[in-house]
């Protein structure tokens, strides 16, 4: 394990401290209970507060999205481990301006349970909370009898668009509704060329041969659904995008936002090679590319790999996507 860290037990602490030092214009950080990254000017009077969080190791998710037009607070847990209810509750209190708070929670048992407890405690303190669970990963078959789909990179789009709705002054019900709409129209799927190593574990999350890749990975270094031989990038893209297109299903004439997301260790040049083919497939299918986002936005430490995310948009969602945002990792219009 070769990492730029000091002590495996301190990676989250020091990463959060570095983030706070780098972005004092955007955020303040609560260290007790550890950790809450709060929008500097929260609570914003009259505005619905938005809180997200989850295990660390997915940077810039979520702290990188705290700021004007997106999240009011992020709650980073231990590495790949949901935060406990205490900091989630603290975040909820810090961002509540009387208009209520939306919890955006990726669908993992741990995240769901801990946010649930925090929401109960917040309610007991008189704060209105609504929760939206994201579950955009088509690699996992959904069913009432399973844990259901995972929330992966589509979460970013839920946070961006709900954040814009909150920023323009929508009510809690409206913001939650927008978030649910985005989640219902967004689909993702990912693959890995290499595993990642959780610092305290010291060993890679799985082993891959020199010619092997994992298809259908999540964002926690879990193995995927399938291990296959490495193929050319275009073929890999086809393997990821087909199940996405079929799932909603996306149709000719649809307008979409395409997110090509690096898993943390993938160079940008490769993401653009992937993008090229994905855009080509959309064109072949008569689907209009309305907006593009290419970069490492929702990651698994140093994993090499990529995920594709498609969101079907209308004018309303596109307007919210285009609305100004000012965070460490996503910024435009301000």
């Amino acid at each position: 394990m070769k990492k730029l860290i000091n002590d495996p037990a301190k990676t989250v602490d020091e990463g959060v401290a570095g983030f706070a030092a780098a972005h004092p214009d955007l955020v303040r950080v609560v260290v007790d209970p550890p950790f809450v990254v709060v929008r500097k000017d929260a609570p914003v009077q009259g505005k619905v507060g938005i809180v997200s969080g989850g295990g660390s190791g997915h940077e810039p998710l979520h702290a990188g999205y705290v700021g004007y037009g997106m999240l009011d607070a992020a709650v980073p847990g231990a590495m790949f481990t949901s935060p406990t209810p205490d900091p989630i509750l603290e975040a909820t209190k810090q961002v509540d301006a009387g208009a209520g708070v939306l919890h955006i929670v990726k669908n993992y048992t741990g995240d769901v349970l801990n946010f649930e407890t925090a929401a109960d405690l917040a309610l007991a303190e008189g704060i209105e909370v609504q929760t939206v669970i994201t579950d955009d990963d088509v690699a996992v078959k959904d069913s009432l009898y399973t844990a259901g789909r995972r929330g992966v990179a589509g979460t970013l789009l839920v946070e961006k668009i709900a954040g814009a709705a909150a920023q323009r002054g929508d009510s809690l019900d409206q913001v939650a509704e927008v978030a649910r709409t985005v989640n219902s129209r967004v689909r993702s799927m990912g693959m890995a060329l290499s595993p990642c190593t959780v610092p305290h574990a010291g060993e890679p999350s799985f082993e891959l041969g020199e010619d092997e890749v994992e298809i259908g990975i999540g964002i926690h270094g879990e193995p995927g659904r399938e291990r296959i031989a490495l193929e050319p990038a275009d073929r890999m893209v086809d393997r990821l995008i087909e199940p996405i297109l079929e799932d909603l299903p996306f149709q000719q004439g649809d307008r979409v936002i395409l997110l090509v997301n690096g898993m943390g260790g993938t160079p940008l040049s490769e993401l653009y090679i992937v993008f090229r083919r994905a855009a080509e497939v959309l064109q072949e299918r008569g689907i209009e590319l309305a907006r593009s986002l290419v970069g490492s936005y929702v990651t698994s430490l140093e994993m090499q790999g990529v995920s594709l995310t498609l969101l079907q948009v209308d004018d309303e969602l596109l307007g919210l996507y285009d609305a100004p945002v000012e965070t460490a990792a996503l910024r435009w219009g301000r």
Binding site: T81, L113, E116, R150, A201, S205, E222
Partner: protein
């Protein structure tokens, strides 16, 4: 042995928590390795963080605390330090167990079975897993059943529970998971033991060992 009449008192509950902390610290790497195979590789780390915190809290707990008070302290500490799926699940388990233990100074076999049943029910209520879903429930449910059938001796009850939990954990190996992270793997989860079922077996064996 736990005092006159064979009941389990607050000191036992304290020894139990300490024994879990020791067992988890010893077997942290093993639990994490199980989780790496079919989860995200943090289960040992998560529980160790929680039970080390429990050790710290136990120091400030008053001498003659009841079993229920000890269990409650374990519960709240786990809830606020473990995170992940196992934090709320074990936290709820100990919380429901403490409620079942109530104000009792010591637990006889019947009370113990009540306590264990409440713990299991708490996990099921929150996690919605059924027997065979390849989760910690696969250790808890056989344990509770065996405990209920073990008779009046608390040591026998705990020993039966621990053995059944161990067998239940082993029996998760061939299963496909329907809850938790292992469920994302489909058939690839087969051949691996569920980490939460293994930590449950560890906890229940610790309970018997210090009784």
């Amino acid at each position: 042995m736990s005092g006159l009449g064979g009941g389990l008192d607050g000191a036992w509950a304290r020894r139990w928590a300490e024994a879990i902390a020791e067992g988890v610290a010893d077997r942290k790497a093993e639990l994490t390795a199980l989780d790496r195979a079919i989860g995200d590789g943090d289960h040992g780390e998560n529980l160790d963080r929680g039970f080390q915190a429990v050790l710290g809290k136990l120091e400030s707990l008053e001498e003659g605390a009841t079993p229920g008070a000890v269990l409650k302290l374990v519960a709240t500490t786990l809830i606020s330090t473990v995170g992940g799926a196992s934090g709320p699940l074990y936290g709820t388990a100990f919380l429901k167990a403490s409620v079942a233990a109530g104000e009792r100074e010591s637990l006889d076999a019947a009370a113990l079975v009540e306590v264990l049943t409440a713990a299991r029910d708490g996990i099921v209520a929150r996690g919605k897993a059924e027997l065979g879903d390849k989760t910690m429930v696969d250790a808890w449910t056989p344990a509770v059943d065996a405990a209920a059938a073990a008779g009046d001796d608390v040591e026998a009850v705990l020993d039966a529970a621990a053995s059944a939990a161990e067998a239940g954990a082993a029996a998760t190996e061939p299963l496909i998971a329907h809850k938790g992270r292992a469920s994302y793997l489909g058939e690839r989860a087969q051949g691996h033991r569920d980490p939460g079922s293994e930590s449950t077996a560890l906890m229940l064996r610790a309970a018997a060992a210090v009784a």
